[in-house]
Symmetry: C2
């Protein structure tokens, strides 16, 4: 892969809370990786994005690809009702490959035009539809994980499997998925209420044996937590239940939400190196609450951000950065004045290098990082009255005012995909 340099106004974070910037600078890419940055024009091919913002690609640690078709609808309901009335019936439609093809084509197109370069996505219980999702994302040039969902209890008959079918389907899914290179399989029990102990145990073994990562939901909603308590009376906590089945950090693991995480659970998540996918927009939309992000960070838990489409209504991780800031302010004001708000540069770090760490070295412009790069055209923000803003202020302005605009250019592992 040829070397090149991207010319523009660079903004990134290396440590949480502080922007690094290089206005009118050059980002040097070689072999799909960041080689370095320079104030001076290097002697190599230049891609000219002068006057535009150049940021690391963002990582969406949790989203439901099949739910994208109703993102922005049915926002007046709480989690369990919303699952029954809208989510499960929609996901059932993905038994048709024809339907899945239409839906996932649109999803991949829109994800491509967003600032996201890495993702960890839920599919549905359907093996072939989820393989199709992987193909669409791979063809779009995006990178990350996608999982066939497991559900063998407490699920509507039209969206349920037997334990046996769930296990054999997951095996077939993992085998077939080995043909992809950018998008890899991830083991995806929906959540404890949807999976029997037997299934969870076998998924844990499968993860460990194949070295396959795991994603699921944790502590999203109070009724859900109560339900888990009654389903797993033997577990000291929701997190401990996953742990019992080897599904909490035996292999790299993402747990979405963690809104109502107890102290013991925080210790366990840190010990197991679990990544929390903080989904502020979804947690508000589904009346779940506000996750203790500051506390998790202070305790050394890995935290990234996530849209959780369609609990979140938008694929924009820039919007999610602003929502993470907003939610943390309300948490500080309304729940715990010791949890000081997450600042804009802190939230940007979580969306880039913080969550990016799940995928390796991505989300920063430090040498050796994957060349995941996004170019934003913020000319529309730059009225005469806003002249003289530095790149970091321009990024804040863009994220608050134009979070849903298509990006101008995008590179994944050094390859231009848009």
């Amino acid at each position: 892969m040829a070397a090149f340099s991207l010319h523009g106004d660079l903004v990134w974070t290396e440590e949480i809370g502080a922007f690094r910037t290089l206005e009118d600078g050059y980002l040097i890419v070689e072999d799909g990786r960041i080689k370095g940055i320079s104030k001076h024009r290097p002697d190599m091919d230049i891609i000219d994005m002068a006057g535009r913002l150049v940021i690391p690609g963002l990582s969406d640690l949790h989203l439901h690809a099949p739910q994208y078709s109703f993102a922005g609808l049915y926002m007046d309901e709480e989690l369990l009702e919303w699952l029954d009335r809208h989510t499960f019936p929609e996901e059932a439609k993905f038994s048709s490959l024809e339907y899945a093809d239409k839906a996932y084509t649109l999803f991949a197109e829109d994800l491509l035009s967003s600032a996201t370069t890495r993702f960890s996505a839920f599919g549905t219980i359907h093996v072939d539809a989820t393989l199709l999702l992987m193909r669409k994302l791979e063809e779009a040039g995006l990178s990350g994980y996608a999982g066939k969902v497991n559900m063998d209890r407490n699920s509507p008959p039209f969206l349920s499997e037997t334990e046996e079918d769930s296990v054999s389907g997951t095996r077939r899914f993992i085998d077939a998925a080995s043909s992809f290179t950018l998008v890899r399989p991830i083991i995806t029990p929906r959540f404890i209420p949807s999976c029997t102990d037997g299934l969870l145990e076998r998924l844990g073994v499968m993860a460990a044996e194949g070295g396959i990562p795991v994603q699921s939901h944790l502590d999203e909603n109070l009724s859900e937590i109560e339900w888990v308590r009654s389903l797993c009376p033997w577990a000291s906590s929701y997190a401990a239940a996953y742990d019992r089945f080897g599904l909490l950090g035996t292999t790299p693991t993402i747990m979405a939400h963690s809104v109502w995480l107890g102290d013991d659970e925080m210790d366990l998540l840190r010990k197991r190196g679990v990544f929390v996918a903080h989904s502020p927009s979804s947690n508000t939309n589904l009346s779940s609450g506000i996750a203790p992000v500051r506390k998790m960070l202070e305790r050394g838990i890995n935290v990234g951000l996530a849209t959780d489409v369609a609990g979140g209504s938008s694929l924009s991780m820039l919007r999610m950065i602003c929502e993470a800031v907003a939610a943390s302010k309300l948490r500080w004001r309304l729940i715990d004045e010791e949890d000081r708000p997450i600042s804009f540069p802190e939230a940007f770090y979580l969306a880039s290098k913080g969550g990016g760490a799940f995928f390796g070295r991505t989300g920063s412009f430090e040498p050796g990082y994957d060349a995941d790069i996004v170019v934003l055209d913020d000319c529309g923000c730059r009225t005469p009255l806003r002249a003289g803003l530095g790149p970091a202020e321009r990024l804040e302005l863009y994220a608050y005012r134009h979070p849903d605009d298509p990006v101008k250019a995008k590179f994944v592992k050094g390859r231009r995909v848009l």
Copy 2:
């Protein structure tokens, strides 16, 4: 003014909480007012917006026009710090008419392309700049109120007046503003901390004598409330302090925020017929809290929605509808389970007919209402998978996913302005 009919998919609310819709219908306008709706093509001039959403114009009950130039910036600060560091220095620039001309031209252009037809805006302390703001808004064809701000204490030297100058300036402002027809003057003490008792008393007299409406801020932030308590030890509450000066409902009055409203204050606001400008986005951005909207509605207080630019980062009232829903869900979950969340149709009512009541009969398609009409092009939302949605669902989808898109057409009092 000629009669005409607007053809499209109509959505509006007459009572709080329930959408009315007429797909492929006709909205009949005569003499600047709604005459009625029809399923059948009337025999008159037709403006064809077939397949588009047609909604009542929205009312933004509280925004700061001079702050629009930094909307979306400096979002990591709380109210009083944010005022000192960014707001006051920016507002001071409006002593220059040249600067004001640039800033207010951009503001009026962007407000015109939003779904807002009515507004109540703060200017700055500068009389001529605020008259210029009125002219820009009048020329854009928009309607509402704008106020020269009063500040004679606790303000930086570069943005302060004497009591005498503040009163004479306000008189000159009100006299000169009589030349406008769509945009009218409103008496605008910034808030209690910025105005001496003497000034507030004279503004109260001026409001009563001239029948001029009043706007100010109330109970936004805990530090601010503490400050008011120390400044007005004789008042039983923040609201009671305004009341003592005849600035709480002697004439039509808007109080922004009311996040931390006490029970006695709720009674007083209801008794005085005050309109509360609920500003959910700003209240989150400035870490103020979440206003008790459900309680206010149950007690019969008039509530409308507001962007509070630049505490809010966007002029979009559609976005504010979604934010009002979102904030109410967190209030229900985190503060008081008796305050059940505000639904999307309820929030839409507040943004249209609810807040519109401050301006007379506007914000609905009932006969006799002012023909304030906005057309939204939601074609971008209508993927093949979302076919079959009714107009109310399409409106929810548009508001959650495209709240900042420019509107397709706009009418104010029957006149097409866009």
